[in-house]
């Protein structure tokens, strides 16, 4: 019979540190928002800010330990004019925020029906 452990909180043996299972590998933040910059769903997100057409700043609920977070993203619409997501050197990421833009193949910023980013890294 499989063993089942019922527990509410997992920490390392010293009572404070994260256990190997969750350390670094779990996603820390994700968000999905629509063309009106309203959140559809999120995790670890305090708020998002509309920075203009296709541009968004995501503010985290809990700070990361450094501003070297790994960000991936995707966006799309009901038509076939798909977009890419880029970060930009003009707006630096911080331990509590990341900025990104959704652009079409011509480099024009676009508000899309579905815009999403996912963040990995260490929390403070």
């Amino acid at each position: 019979m499989p063993s089942v452990l019922n527990v509410d909180t997992l920490v390392a043996a010293n009572g404070t540190d994260p256990v190997t299972l969750t350390k670094q590998s779990a996603a820390k933040i994700f968000e999905r928002h629509n063309a009106s910059h309203s959140l559809d769903s999120s995790f670890g997100v305090s708020s998002i800010t509309d920075e203009g057409v296709g541009q968004t700043t995501v503010t985290y609920l809990n700070a990361l330990s450094s501003a070297t977070q790994i960000i991936s993203g995707s966006a799309g619409n009901n038509d076939t004019n798909e977009c890419v997501i880029t970060t930009t050197a003009a707006v630096a990421n911080t331990t509590t925020t990341h900025y990104y833009a959704v652009a079409d193949s011509g480099g024009s910023y676009r508000d899309r029906a579905v815009n999403a980013t996912l963040v990995h890294g260490d929390l403070a």
């Binding site: 063993s3 509410d8 909180t9 256990v19 968000e31 809990n62 330990s65 995707s74 996912l118 403070a124």
Partner: protein, 132 residues
């Protein structure tokens, strides 16, 4: 010496699907379940559309050039989950036909710089959100 707990399944006490973990720096806590990737897949569209490797995906459907439907093994809890879709050099990609995005499946498209649909060898998907 590091302690090792051997167990096949973890459940929360107050709620089976809610276990809290401590951040790396010790300054915060967050849900273990919500931070886990719920599905991932690598697939190819060259010659035939086929799954290369995956987790929590069942079938894959070729809808046409660069146009693919992905079906989950275990459904998501809602249709607002987060999809990351990436492809190889010189292409870009994302959701298509968002009206077909459901708790059981979604659809993606891959295009070249001229916005023409293309089939490419390397396609990557990550899904974050709540499982049913």
């Amino acid at each position: 010496m590091a302690s090792i707990l051997k167990v096949d399944e973890l459940r929360g006490i107050a709620s089976a699907g809610d276990i809290t973990i401590t951040s790396e720096g010790g300054a915060a806590t967050q849900s273990l379940q919500q931070g886990l990737i719920k599905a991932w897949r690598k697939y190819t569209c060259v010659t035939t559309t086929a799954n290369t490797d995956s987790f929590n995906f069942s079938s894959i459907t070729d809808n046409g050039t660069g146009d693919t439907s992905h079906n989950f093994s275990t459904a998501m809890g809602n249709a607002t989950y987060t999809i990351m879709h990436n492809t190889q050099y010189a292409t870009f990609s994302g959701y298509t036909n968002t009206g077909t995005l459901t708790t059981a499946a979604f659809r993606t498209g891959v295009f070249n710089s001229s916005v023409a649909a293309v089939d490419v060898e390397h396609n990557f998907v990550h899904i974050a959100g709540d499982l049913a």
